[in-house]
């Protein structure tokens, strides 16, 4: 049990940091990545429209 305790004593707090990091990366990917890309497309379209209208 001593060996397992020694490993767990350091693995447990480290695992919590890994858990927090992975969860954050999951939220970023799930909630924001696509939305930011879509917002870029919308903004590019809007500026294209403005340029087009000014050209006319």
């Amino acid at each position: 049990m001593g060996d397992v305790s020694v490993i767990l004593a350091f693995a447990h707090p480290f695992a919590v940091i890994v858990f927090s990091t992975l969860w954050t990366l999951h939220i970023l990917k799930n909630d924001y990545k696509q939305a930011i890309e879509e917002k870029q497309v919308v903004q590019e379209r809007a500026s294209d429209d403005v340029a087009h209208a000014q050209g006319e």
Binding site: G2, S5, T21, K39
Partner: protein, 533 residues
């Protein structure tokens, strides 16, 4: 004549009070008072979360157990670390998107019941006061010993400081002073603990000297207590469920200016909480080799601060212990006050107040809470120790199943919530009394009463909801809640360039804390763990 240690200590206290008083200027409307007008950035969220998380339990009670039993026990069973992450990234984020100001805001709205809100608020106030008073009593005795001022005067001095933090400045003061206090706590872990290890003979004291004296110091069951795996597992579960719904942790999500700041604050504070506590516990363990006769054992960190470092660092470190107590206490009291003014008077009582009246009500409630708590701390009724012993477990059994079901299960209803809260609390108190106080029977595998009570509370939540009907309003609120995405508001508010910048920064901070964490814990494992295997 005031010593340098006392000078630094009192100087730090004066800085906290001064900053708290100055910040009262920023309070114009109730939103400022309750959630800092949702303006806190990553550093403030990390600081307040870390400081509120560190408490008298960590710096005194648990440190005392680590001193005699070795560091492995608490490094293994500290379920409050994952509880902190789940409390912020799951419960806190979900509640924040609903623009909740307090947790009973969500509970009453989700179950469409003022009775459920009242029961949840009363449990919260009783639990908070029980947990808060014990912190204040701990601080009083610690400092009475340290500065030689009578216990009663210390308690009154602390009450005045708390009055400034909470009554005048509300969440603004608490968040900023918490962050300052966090710095003092880092000193305790990052300066005093390594100094104790080196004073005791370096890393070898942990890998050779102490294990030779007692091989049990590296067993999770403890050097002398020999606790069973069942007890260890139930302590981990207790701390996990307690901290994941503890109002002073979850509500730290509310002042964050946006979702990115919330995630950054969580990652930074998770690194600080795991890193500082691990190093602190290793330092406490090494202190046993320096002096095995510290009495009471709760004062081990004070002994380290006054004996192994320069008085300047010693003063800051004792200020760090005081900060751990003050920050947790101020946050606990502020939520007990919010429970009184916002949840019971405004929401349950249905009082329509002007903003000025709301602010005045919130401040009067804070004042009342501080006075009540100070009086209890001064007279120390025996019952308060029972209440404090139950406080963490009661939050775990009464709130956790009801909140998780409310967030995840459409069928969850007010009858299930009431049965779970009342039945879970009663089951825990009865099981605790029967097994620990009255000695009527013992639970198998040495498990803590919190495990069966949590199971009973969950069964009551599910059974109560299935046996009764869920109202249309409850279902409508659940559907509406799940239609809202926390990211929507953030995405709408910022330009694409700003979002990209925040997105990248959050990723870098997450990878950064992971990198530093790998170095710290990898290094500790190579230096201390490997020689022991």
């Amino acid at each position: 004549m005031v010593s340098l240690v006392e000078g630094v200590f009192f100087g730090t206290l004066v800085v906290y009070v001064f900053v708290g008083a100055v910040l009262a200027r920023f309070i114009d409307v109730p939103e400022d008072f309750y959630v800092m007008d949702r303006k806190a950035g990553s550093i403030l969220i990390a600081g307040t979360l870390f400081a509120s998380y560190m408490s008298a339990s960590t710096m005194m009670g648990i440190a005392g157990i680590v001193y005699t039993e070795g560091a492995a026990m608490w490094l293994v069973i500290y379920g409050s670390w994952p509880g902190l992450v789940i409390g912020m990234l799951y419960v806190g984020r979900r509640l924040r998107k609903l623009n909740n100001v307090t947790m009973p805001d969500f509970i009453g709205d989700r179950y469409q019941s003022e009775l459920v809100r009242s029961v949840a608020t009363v449990i919260m106030i009783v639990g908070l006061i029980g947990y808060g008073v014990i912190q204040l009593i701990g601080a009083g005795y610690l400092l009475a010993d340290f500065v030689g001022i009578p216990y009663q005067q210390i308690v009154v001095l602390f009450a005045i400081a708390l009055m400034v933090f909470t009554v005048a400045g509300g969440m603004y003061s608490v968040v900023v002073t918490d962050t300052l206090m966090g710095v003092a706590m880092i000193v305790t872990g990052a300066v005093v603990a390594p100094a104790a290890i080196f004073a005791a003979g370096g890393i070898e004291v942990l890998t050779t000297t102490l294990p030779q004296q007692n091989p049990g110091v590296w067993y999770a069951g403890g050097a002398n207590m020999n606790m069973s795996p069942g007890w260890l597992a139930s302590q981990w579960v207790l701390w996990l469920f307690f901290i994941m719904v503890a109002p002073w942790v979850v509500s730290r999500a509310f002042p964050a200016s946006d979702d990115f700041e919330l995630m950054n604050g969580t990652n930074i504070s998770t690194f600080l909480a795991t890193g500082v506590i691990t190093v602190l516990f290793l330092g406490v363990m090494a202190t046993y080799a320096l002096n095995s006769g510290i009495e009471p054992v709760d004062n081990v960190v004070v002994w380290m601060s006054t004996n192994v470092v320069h008085p300047f660092w010693g003063g800051l470190a004792v200020a760090g212990i005081m900060a751990g107590i003050l920050s947790t206490t101020s946050t606990i009291f502020i939520y007990a006050g919010f429970g009184l003014s916002r949840d019971l008077v405004e929401r349950v009582g249905g009082q329509t107040l002007t903003q000025r009246q709301q602010l005045l009500g919130a401040r009067l409630a804070q004042f009342a809470v501080v006075v009540v708590v100070t009086v209890i701390a001064l007279f120390e009724p025996l019952g308060i120790y029972w209440l404090a012993a139950w406080a963490g477990s009661v939050f775990a059994v009464a709130w956790a199943p009801m909140i998780i079901a409310g967030l995840e299960w459409e069928r969850a209803n007010k009858y299930g919530a009431l049965a779970s809260m009342i039945g879970g609390t009663a089951a825990y108190v009865l099981l605790y009394q029967a097994t620990q106080a009255w000695g009527m029977f013992s639970l198998p595998f040495g498990i803590d009463p919190v495990l069966p009570a949590l199971l009973i509370s969950t069964v009551l939540m599910v059974g109560g909801s299935l046996a009764t009907s869920t109202s249309r309003d409850e279902r409508a609120f659940f559907d509406e809640m799940n239609d809202v995405r926390l990211s929507e508001e953030v995405i709408e508010r910022h330009t694409q360039t700003e979002l990209k910048k925040k997105y990248d920064r959050t990723r870098y901070i997450a990878y950064g804390t992971l990198g530093v964490g790998t170095l710290l814990f990898g290094g500790l494992f190579i230096a201390i763990g490997m020689p022991l295997l």
